[in-house]
C-alpha cells in the first residue's frame, strides 16, 4: 500500500498546524497561569492589609461603638476565630464568587457599589488615554525627527513636568482657570445638577447613554464636564507617551535600515512613518497599555478634585471613613484591571512583532 506524495504533504502540513495550535494553547495557558498567580499575590496583599495589619480588624468593620454581642458575632462571621491560612482560603473563595463584603458607609455590597462607580472612571480614563495617544505619539515622532528643535524642547519640558507635577494640583489650577475665570468648561461632577438623573443608565458611560436616549443637550453638558478632568489625565499620559515615543524614534532613526530607505530615495515623510515608526508600534502598545493602567491610578486623585463619582472617589471616601471592605474591594478591582492590562500588552507584544513570532 503506497502513500501518494500529496497526502504525505497534507499530513505534514496538518502535523505542523496541530503543533502550532499546541504551542499557542501552551502560551495561552502560561498567560492564564501568570495572571492568576499575580492576582493571587494581589489577594494575599489585600488580605494582609485587611486582616493582619489592623490590630483589631473586627473593630475596623463594626466601629468602636458596637456592643460586645455584635462584636463577637462579627468576629465569628468574619471567620477570625480560624487560623490564617483557612481565613485566606475563605477570602479567596469569597472574592472569586463575587463577594467583597458590605460597605459600611453606603450600606450596599461593595460589588454593587463598584459596578455603579466603575463606568464613570472608565469613561474619563478612556477619553484621557485617547487625548494622550492622539497628541503624544505624533508629538514624540516630530520631536525625534527634528531633534533639538523648539518642538523637541517643548516635549522635553512637558515630559519632565509630567513627572514632577501633582495631578490633583493641575486639576485644581485647571478648575480655577477654565471653570471659575474663563467659564470655558463645566464645573465638578459629571453633569449640571438639573440634568442629573434624567438619563437612564444603560452602559453607565454618560456620553453613550445620553446619545442612546437621544438627549443631545445632556450629551454636550457631559462633554463640558468631562473635558477638563480628561485633559488633565490626558496631559500626564501625553507626557509619558511622547517621551517614550521620542526615545524609541531616536533609537530607530539611528538604525542602518533607515539609511537604507534614504538611499532608495524614499521621501522623508515615509522614512519617518513607514520605516522608523512602524517597528516601534508594538513597543508603543505596551507603553500605551501601561499609561492607560496608570490613568486608572491617577483618576483616584483627579476624581477627588472634580467630585467625579467614580471608583477613585469611592476609594478616597472609603479611606476617610475607614470603610475597609470598600477600600480593599476598590484596591482589588483597580489592581486587577492594572495587572490585566499589563499582561495583555505583554502578550500583544509577542503576538504582533514578526521578530517574536
Amino acid at each position: 500500500m503506497s502513500q501518494n506524495p500529496t497526502t504525505a504533504a497534507t499530513l505534514e502540513v496538518a502535523g505542523a498546524a496541530s503543533r502550532r495550535t499546541r504551542r499557542r494553547l501552551l502560551a495561552v495557558l502560561g498567560f492564564v497561569a501568570t495572571v492568576l498567580l499575580t492576582f493571587l499575590g494581589l489577594l494575599a496583599i489585600t488580605f494582609f492589609i485587611g486582616r493582619v495589619i489592623p490590630i483589631d480588624p473586627v473593630l475596623a468593620i463594626v466601629g468602636d461603638r458596637a456592643s460586645n454581642e455584635v462584636y463577637q458575632a462579627a468576629r465569628v462571621a468574619m471567620g477570625l476565630d480560624q487560623p490564617l491560612p483557612v481565613q485566606f482560603f475563605h477570602y479567596v473563595v469569597n472574592v472569586f464568587s463575587g463577594d467583597l463584603g458590605q460597605s459600611v458607609s453606603t450600606g450596599r455590597s461593595v460589588v454593587e457599589d463598584l459596578s455603579r462607580f466603575f463606568p464613570a472612571t472608565l469613561e474619563m480614563a478612556t477619553i484621557g488615554i485617547i487625548i494622550g495617544v492622539v497628541l503624544g505619539v505624533p508629538l514624540g515622532v516630530i520631536a525625534a525627527s527634528r531633534q533639538g528643535s523648539i518642538i523637541d524642547q517643548i516635549i522635553r519640558v512637558v515630559g519632565l513636568l509630567g513627572y514632577s507635577m501633582p495631578a490633583f494640583w493641575l486639576g485644581l489650577v485647571g478648575l480655577a482657570l477654565f471653570y471659575a475665570r474663563l467659564r470655558w468648561v463645566g464645573g465638578p461632577g459629571r453633569l449640571d445638577i438639573f440634568y442629573d438623573g434624567l438619563v437612564q443608565p444603560v452602559t453607565g458611560l454618560l456620553l453613550v447613554d445620553s446619545l442612546l436616549a437621544g438627549e443631545i443637550e445632556i450629551f454636550w453638558n457631559a462633554v463640558t464636564h468631562l473635558v477638563l478632568p480628561a485633559s488633565v489625565l490626558g496631559f500626564f499620559s501625553l507626557a509619558y507617551i511622547a517621551r517614550m515615543t521620542r526615545s524609541f524614534m531616536l533609537d530607530q532613526l539611528s538604525q542602518e535600515f533607515v539609511t537604507t530607505a534614504r538611499v532608495k530615495g524614499v521621501p522623508e515623510r515615509l522614512v519617518i512613518w513607514r520605516h522608523a515608526f512602524n517597528p516601534i508600534r508594538v513597543p508603543l502598545i505596551t507603553v500605551i497599555g501601561l499609561s492607560y493602567a496608570g490613568l486608572l491610578e491617577g483618576s483616584v486623585m483627579i476624581e477627588t478634585v472634580f467630585s467625579w463619582p467614580g471608583i477613585g472617589n469611592y476609594l478616597t471616601t472609603a479611606l476617610l471613613n475607614a470603610d475597609m471592605n470598600a477600600v480593599l474591594g476598590s484596591t482589588l478591582v483597580i489592581g486587577a484591571v492594572f495587572i490585566f492590562i499589563n499582561k495583555i500588552s505583554d502578550v500583544l507584544y509577542r503576538v504582533l512583532d514578526p521578530r517574536a513570532r
Binding site: L37, T38, G41, L42, A44, I45, T46, I49, G50, I53, P54, L160, L161, Y163, S164, M165, P166, A167, F168, W169, L172, V173, L175, A176, Y179, A180, S247, L250, A293, G294, L296, E297, G298, V300, M301, T304, V305, L315, T316, A318, L319, L320, A322, M324, V327, L328, S330, T331, I334, G335, F338, I339, N342, K343
Partner: protein, 299 residues
C-alpha cells in the same frame, strides 16, 4: 603636588584616594551639565531651607491672624495667607522639613531593603531567587499609589505611616536592579577569589557585591524621589498623610481646595514648591545617569 593632581592621579595609592578621585571626576562631569547643576542647586536650597527654616521664615507656621485671613499675595505676605490667616510663604518654608524627612526616610528604608533582597536573590539563585523575585514581580505589577493608600488605610493616617507605606511600595524596583547587577558580578573572577579565601556569603554580598550596585542605585533613587514627593503630597491631599496643622505641601493644597475658585493662591502656591523640588530631583537624576551610566545617554 596639588590636591587636584592627587585626586586625578592615574594610579591611586590608597582606597581613599581612589574613591575621592572618582567622586571628584563625577562631580566635575556633573558641573558640565547645566541642568544637573540646576537640579543640584534646587536640592541644596531645599536642604538649606529645611535647616534654616526658623531663621528664613518671616512668620511662624501655625500663628493665626484671623483679621488677615485669605489675603492675596502682597509685600507683607509674598504668597498670601490661608483661611486662618497663616502666612503661606512661611508654611511652605517650614514644609520643606517635612518633604525632606519623607524623601530621606523613604530612601533610607526602601533602597537598602531592595538592595539586600535583590543581591541575595541574585547571589544564591535557585529557589531563593524564584521566591524573592516572584514577590517582587507581584509588587511591581501593582499600582503603587493605590497600594500605598491601602497600606495607610490599614496602618492609620499620619506622616510616619505614610512614609512606611511609600517605602513598602518602592523597594521592588531596587530589588530588580540589584539582582540584575549581582547576576553580572556574581560570576566574575574577583568574587571567585574572595570565595576561595573562605569568605562567607554574607561577607561577599555586603563587602563586594553591594558596593558595586550603588551607582545604578543612586541614579534610580534620585529619579524616583520625584515620584515619592508626589505620592506623599497625594496622601497629604487626601488627608491620609501629614495631619493638620503640619505645613505639609499636599495637605496645604487640600485645605486650599475649598477656596480655589476665588482665593486661588492658597492651593496654588504649595504646588509650585512641589513642582520645583520634584524637577530638581529629575534634573539631578538625569545628570547622574549620564555621568555614571553613559550607555543610556540622551534617552
Amino acid at each position: 603636588m596639588s590636591t587636584r593632581d592627587w585626586l586625578l592621579e592615574d594610579s591611586p595609592h590608597s582606597r581613599l584616594q581612589a574613591n575621592a578621585g572618582r567622586a571628584y571626576r563625577v562631580f566635575t562631569a556633573l558641573l558640565r551639565n547645566p541642568l544637573s547643576v540646576l537640579g543640584g542647586l534646587i536640592i541644596l536650597i531645599l536642604v538649606l531651607t529645611a535647616l534654616l527654616a526658623p531663621w528664613l521664615a518671616p512668620y511662624s507656621s501655625t500663628g493665626q491672624d484671623l483679621a488677615n485671613r485669605l489675603a492675596p499675595p502682597s509685600g507683607a505676605h509674598w504668597m498670601g495667607t490661608d483661611e486662618l490667616g497663616r502666612d503661606i510663604f512661611s508654611r511652605v518654608i517650614w514644609g520643606s522639613q517635612i518633604t525632606l524627612t519623607i524623601v530621606g526616610l523613604v530612601a533610607l528604608i526602601s533602597a537598602p531593603l531592595g538592595l539586600l533582597l535583590g543581591a541575595v536573590a541574585g547571589y544564591f539563585g535557585g529557589w531563593t531567587d524564584r521566591v524573592l523575585m516572584g514577590i517582587t514581580d507581584i509588587f511591581l505589577s501593582m499600582p503603587k499609589l493605590i497600594l500605598a493608600l491601602a497600606f495607610v488605610a490599614a496602618l492609620g493616617p499620619g506622616i510616619n505611616n505614610a512614609i512606611i507605606a511609600i517605602a513598602i511600595t518602592s523597594w521592588p524596583a531596587y530589588a530588580r536592579i540589584a539582582r540584575a547587577e549581582t547576576l553580572t558580578i556574581r560570576n566574575s573572577e574577583f568574587i571567585a577569589a574572595v570565595q576561595m579565601q573562605g569568605a562567607s556569603p554574607l561577607r561577599v554580598i555586603v563587602g563586594h557585591v553591594l558596593p558595586l550596585c550603588t551607582s545604578s542605585m543612586i541614579i534610580r533613587v534620585t529619579l524616583d524621589m520625584a515620584g515619592v514627593i508626589l505620592t506623599a503630597a497625594g496622601l497629604g491631599f487626601i488627608g491620609l498623610g501629614a495631619q493638620p496643622p503640619l505645613p505639609e505641601w499636599g495637605a496645604m493644597i487640600s485645605r486650599g481646595r475649598t477656596f480655589i475658585l476665588d482665593q486661588w493662591w492658597v492651593a496654588t502656591m504649595p504646588g509650585f514648591a512641589i513642582i520645583i523640588v520634584s524637577l530638581g530631583f529629575c534634573f539631578l537624576g538625569d545628570g547622574l545617569r549620564d555621568v555614571l551610566d553613559p550607555k543610556s545617554e540622551g534617552k
